[in-house]
């Protein structure tokens, strides 16, 4: 900036620049510090602490002194209830990717085709996402009830005298019943993502494909879906992470029951950490959950989403 014609001028310029730099540094610090304190103290530190606690046997009250190394981890991995919970998380992941996301994508494409009424349908489809998990859980508990429940009433209207099924009390059906609710609640969210993605695709490209003689299915397969790739990869990413951390709806509807048939890692953690006050053990569960989510994020971002960041 400054022309260094003489030594004095240069010194003057340097001192002025450094003063500017100092006042900017103060601004930066002042603007970042409040957020940084809260973020480091309540978001980062607890995760580090959870990993630290996981090496202890601790009830959360006395001093933290009973170091037991990896014993908590050994116990977790040997517990069939935890393996079951992890399995349920993975089942929800697979079901979501296989049914929920295609449904969301299909509806986004369908809404794009509709002329009038598009906005109303979008508003209705997205509505469940705004409702709380607790409200959703209570409403769907009624839907699934054996006596006076909507589904059982419907079945009996079609097949008179059919036996009533307690969908949420049967270990065979409970996870699928919950998955239906999960889909009901979250498909609108993914649909909104897809709608936004579709709006970013220039209409000319698809029109050009149609003029060149592509059928609608071909346009979809070779033009629309590839151009939507970034959104699809993002939606898969968010869906997997959400499914791995699932808690609220399940806690309201079944508290992980019957006999652990709908436990997830998060409900398992809650039961050990807050109901039995085994904080060391619960922390080890948290550490495993963290490890799974973190490594999935790193691997997925490295390999699947790399192209989308450019």
């Amino acid at each position: 900036m400054a022309q260094p014609s003489s030594r004095v001028a240069r010194q003057l310029a340097v001192s002025q620049r450094s003063r500017v730099r100092w006042s900017q540094a103060a601004t930066i610090a002042g603007f970042l510090l409040p957020a940084a304190i809260l973020y480091i103290g309540l978001v980062l530190l607890p995760v580090v602490q959870a990993i630290y606690y996981s090496f202890f046997c601790w009830n959360g009250l006395g001093p933290l002194e009973q170091f037991i190394g990896l014993a908590n981890y050994v116990r977790i991995l040997g517990d069939s209830a935890f393996r079951g919970a992890l399995g349920h998380n993975l089942q929800i992941v697979v079901l979501s990717l296989a049914f929920q996301l295609p449904l969301s994508l299909g509806l986004a494409l369908l809404l794009r085709e509709l002329g009038r009424g598009q906005a109303i349908f979008r508003t209705i489809f997205f509505l469940p996402w705004v409702l709380s998990e607790v409200v959703t859980g209570v409403i769907w508990t009624l839907v699934y009830r054996p006596q006076g429940g909507l589904i059982n009433a419907l079945i009996q209207a079609v097949v008179p005298g059919a036996p009533e099924t307690a969908f949420l009390a049967d270990p065979q059906t409970v996870l699928y019943a919950l998955f239906v609710v999960i889909t009901w609640k979250y498909f609108g969210y993914h649909m909104i993502l897809y709608i936004a993605g579709l709006q970013n695709i220039p209409a000319e490209i698809e029109e050009a494909a149609a003029i060149d003689g592509c059928s609608r299915l071909q346009t979809l397969r070779y033009i629309t879906l590839p151009l939507l790739g970034g959104t699809i990869r993002l939606s898969i990413y968010l869906s997997v992470l959400g499914s791995l951390q699932f808690f609220d709806l399940i806690w309201v509807m079944t508290t992980g029951g019957p006999v652990g048939a709908s436990d997830t890692m998060a409900t398992y953690l809650y039961k050990y950490g807050f109901q039995r006050f085994q904080l060391g053990y619960g922390s080890a569960v948290a550490a495993i959950l963290f490890l799974i989510c973190f490594s999935f994020s790193l691997v997925y971002q490295r390999f699947a989403m790399r192209r989308d960041f450019e």
């Binding site: 970042l32 973020y39 002329g115 489809f125 607790v134 409200v135 909507l150 904080l279």
Partner: protein, 285 residues
């Protein structure tokens, strides 16, 4: 549709397609709406009526379910607790997320990207993982069983995502404005407060609305932090009410249906902001 069909019998599938599209969309809309409408309607039924005919209109309209909820002090207390937590969280997130977002979008200094990545790293740290140490920490800070104990962690966990969203919005404001402000002798602080923030109003609205929805619905954190019934937020209240009157489904559904009203009204008013916030966060994430 039908009147057109006679003329275009050459390509009936092409003509019928819109009809099927509307049918499919309507079917999904029904599947979404029926559980909600059934809840509202069944809130007006006596228990016997509800058990025998869950789909029918009430035989006799029982208003006492709704009236008893609206007259209960607990319901209104939970409502006001939820509102307090929601407003506190929204204000906290708007203030504390927009400041770093401004720094990361408008100021140039070495290590900026590193610091930004450090802040957004929190997106990979779910509250489920942090919850046990967080609980211990809140106990040491004497924040357990107080609304602050819900607000402060909600703000903290809202920071990474909203810094990301707001930085994207700050970056859309033309650079020339920075130079003009600097030439006019505007300090960074007053530039941020007096010029950028007013320009950012739509973005701040999106962030606020999204934060409010998340806070209003939050269940996990209040479940752990709040013990006294007088501090319960609405989701905790609903869960407790269901446990207490579990067999009296008419009352439970009346409670749930009333709780739906503010959410749905808010949604209809702020749908555009909610969608804008969600897609901004997603696309830029």
């Amino acid at each position: 549709m039908i009147s057109h069909n006679a003329r275009s019998s050459a390509s009936p599938p092409r003509r019928l397609a819109p009809l099927f599209q509307y049918l499919a969309a309507s079917l999904v809309a029904l599947l979404v709406l029926i559980p909600l409408l059934a809840s509202v309607l069944n809130g007006f039924k006596s228990n016997a009526d509800l058990l025998l005919r869950p789909f029918a209109l009430p035989q006799t309209w029982v208003w006492s379910n709704y009236i008893s909820v609206l007259q209960s002090a607990a319901f209104w207390r939970q409502m006001s607790n939820s509102v307090l937590v929601m407003l506190g969280t929204a204000v906290g997130v708007m203030v504390l997320a927009s400041m770093p977002a401004f720094v990361f979008a408008r100021l140039c200094f070495r290590g900026r990207e590193l610091l930004f990545n450090f802040f957004t790293l929190g997106l990979l740290f779910p509250i489920t993982v942090a919850i046990l140490p967080l609980y211990i920490m809140l106990r040491q800070l004497n924040l357990l069983d107080s609304l602050w104990g819900v607000i402060v962690p909600q703000v903290a966990f809202g920071l990474p995502g909203n810094i990301l969203i707001l930085r994207g919005f700050f970056a859309t404001i033309p650079r020339e404005l920075d130079e003009a402000a600097a030439i006019d002798g505007c300090s960074p602080v007053s530039y941020y407060l007096r010029i950028l923030l007013p320009l950012m109003r739509p973005a701040l609205a999106a962030v606020a609305v999204l934060t409010m929805v998340t806070s209003w619905n939050n269940f996990f954190l209040p479940l752990l932090v709040l013990n006294s019934e007088s501090l319960y937020t609405l989701p905790l209240g609903i869960q407790q009410f269901q446990g207490q009157f579990g067999t009296d489904w008419g009352r439970v559904l009346a409670f749930v249906s009333i709780a739906l009203v503010p959410t749905i009204v808010f949604y209809l008013l702020a749908e555009r902001q909610i969608v804008a916030g969600l897609t901004a966060g997603a696309v830029k994430g």
